[in-house]
């Protein structure tokens, strides 16, 4: 009697797994440098890896009821996992192999996105609640999630990261770096930058850069989130910090307070004063550090 019950229980647990692993995916398409590959999947997981072939390949599995829609042209391959209108029992777990110097566009809803070992011309990944993790190299990188988190270690001269409630953490960005959240926190450790911008509402900003190009600009803004900026002592820029009710601490300059009314500000010339560093916080505290990170 007990053996029968255990058998029924085991079958009950295995049945959903069997249903989810119903369809295998194994697709290939030629694509050279400069081409574009797009992949759309709502739930499950999407992994992207690079290789030294002039073709793209998609492999993995889809839950029962899902179908794969393919759209191909000479320089473009698009795959979309189509979900039934009446719901389904699971998502798709897919791995995409991409050649060098192509453009990669990924879109998911709850599916996590994991990109590694790539060397592409452009990487774009969008998720809603899914997390995004990316490493490798890319000429241009744009990662967006709504409530998921972003972890980027992509070596890229153009990095654009956006989230709403998710946190953002990135290293490897240089040149032009931008990051935005609403309530999530941002932690950036950038290389030498020409433009560096980060914004949050209640989330905190923790930003460091290895250097500022001549005439470069750094702009950091929050409403209630705190702001921390760390730059090398050799940086050349005009530093301007303003808060309404937050504190200011800085390794350079003197904090000024109006005789009457709220507000604090700090103006300082760092080095030759070539670039511009502008920091604004309403009620968040600001800390500017100069020197070794």
């Amino acid at each position: 009697m007990h053996t029968s019950l255990r058998l029924i229980a085991a079958l009950g647990l295995l049945l959903p797994l069997a249903a989810q692993a119903a369809t295998r995916v194994d697709e290939r398409a030629p694509l050279g440098a400069g081409g574009r590959v797009e992949l759309s999947n709502i739930a499950g997981k999407v992994s992207v890896r690079g290789w030294d072939r002039n073709e793209v390949a998609l492999s993995g599995s889809m839950a029962d009821g899902l179908t794969l829609k393919q759209d191909r042209s000479t320089n473009r391959v698009r795959w979309e996992v189509v979900y039934p209108r009446n719901g389904n029992n699971g998502g798709a777990t897919l791995e995409l192999r991409v050649p060098r110097a192509v453009e990669v566009q990924l879109g998911t809803v709850s599916a996590d996105i994991d990109v590694a070992e790539v060397n592409v011309r452009r990487l774009q990944a969008n998720a809603v609640s899914g997390d995004i993790a990316a490493t490798g190299r890319s000429g241009e990188t744009a990662l967006t999630t709504v409530s998921g988190s972003i972890r980027s270690q992509v070596q890229t001269p153009r990095l654009d990261l956006r989230a709403v409630s998710g946190s953002v953490q990135a290293t490897g960005g240089s040149g032009e770096v931008a990051a935005e959240t609403v309530s999530g926190s941002i932690k950036l450790d950038a290389g030498r930058v020409q433009r560096l911008g980060a914004e949050a509402v209640s989330g905190s900003l923790n930003v460091a850069a290895a250097g500022l190009a001549p005439g470069g600009k750094v702009t950091l803004q929050t409403v209630s989130g705190s702001i921390g900026l760390q730059l090398p002592r050799s940086v050349s820029a005009q530093l301007s910090v303003k808060t309404f009710s937050g504190d200011i601490q800085s390794d350079a300059g003197t904090v000024e307070r109006p005789r009457y009314g709220p507000g604090r500000s700090l103006e300082a010339k760092l080095g030759g004063g070539d670039g511009d560093i502008t920091i604004n916080a309403h009620s968040g505290n600001v800390r500017v550090g100069l020197g070794a990170r």
């Binding site: 209108r85 809803v109 709850s110 809603v128 609640s129 709504v146 409530s147 709403v164 409630s165 935005e180 609403v182 309530s183 914004e199 509402v201 209640s202 803004q221 409403v223 209630s224 309404f244 009710s245 709220p262 604004n280 309403h282 009620s283």
Partner: protein
């Protein structure tokens, strides 16, 4: 002529007397011995000692000041409590506040134009977070009504809320966003 001319008879003796009277000086100070004699005839005046009289002369007005001031303040307070005073004037909205109001109105109109669709659960936390953040920024603008940085933050938040709502509606309708 003096006041006596019409009341005296006209005889030689009287005329001589009048001439002598006219020859007298107009004012005459009584000799000192006259005043002494008068003083001895007067009853003694009750004179308090100098120690008691001096404080009364100097302290009495000072003691009245706190009482007068207190009464004055009490009267003023009473008037303030009884008489309806006009409400303190609120400052007119700044340009940033007016722009924030206009932005909020446009946002509400744009949201109302979207089809009423139940968006998926994946979108809900972020949409609530954006609504909460918009309120947060508007409260900050009320505190610091000249901050263009806050206005740009509000604009970004509304734009993001609209964009994500549109995407969520499209996703719920099964359309590509």
């Amino acid at each position: 002529m003096n006041d006596y001319d019409d009341t005296t008879p006209h005889d030689p003796e009287h005329a001589a007397l009048q001439a002598r009277l006219r020859a007298l000086p107009a004012e005459r100070v009584p000799p000192a011995r006259v005043w002494q004699a008068i003083a001895t005839q007067l009853p003694p005046m009750p004179r308090p000692s100098a120690d008691v009289q001096r404080p009364r002369a100097t302290r009495a007005p000072r003691r009245r000041w706190p009482l007068r001031v207190g009464l004055g303040l009490a009267a003023a307070l009473g008037v303030l409590m009884v008489v309806p005073m006009p409400a303190p004037r609120t400052p007119p909205p700044t340009l940033v506040q007016r722009q924030a109001e206009a932005m909020a109105a446009e946002y509400q109109q744009a949201m109302a134009a979207l089809p009423p669709t139940q968006v998926g659960g994946d979108w809900q936390p972020a949409l609530h977070e954006l609504d909460s953040s918009a309120d947060h920024i508007r409260a900050a603008i009320a505190e610091n009504p000249r901050s263009r940085v806050l206005l740009s933050q509000l604009q970004r938040t509304y734009a993001l809320r609209l964009e994500l709502t549109q995407q969520a509606v499209m996703a719920a309708a099964g359309l590509p966003s």
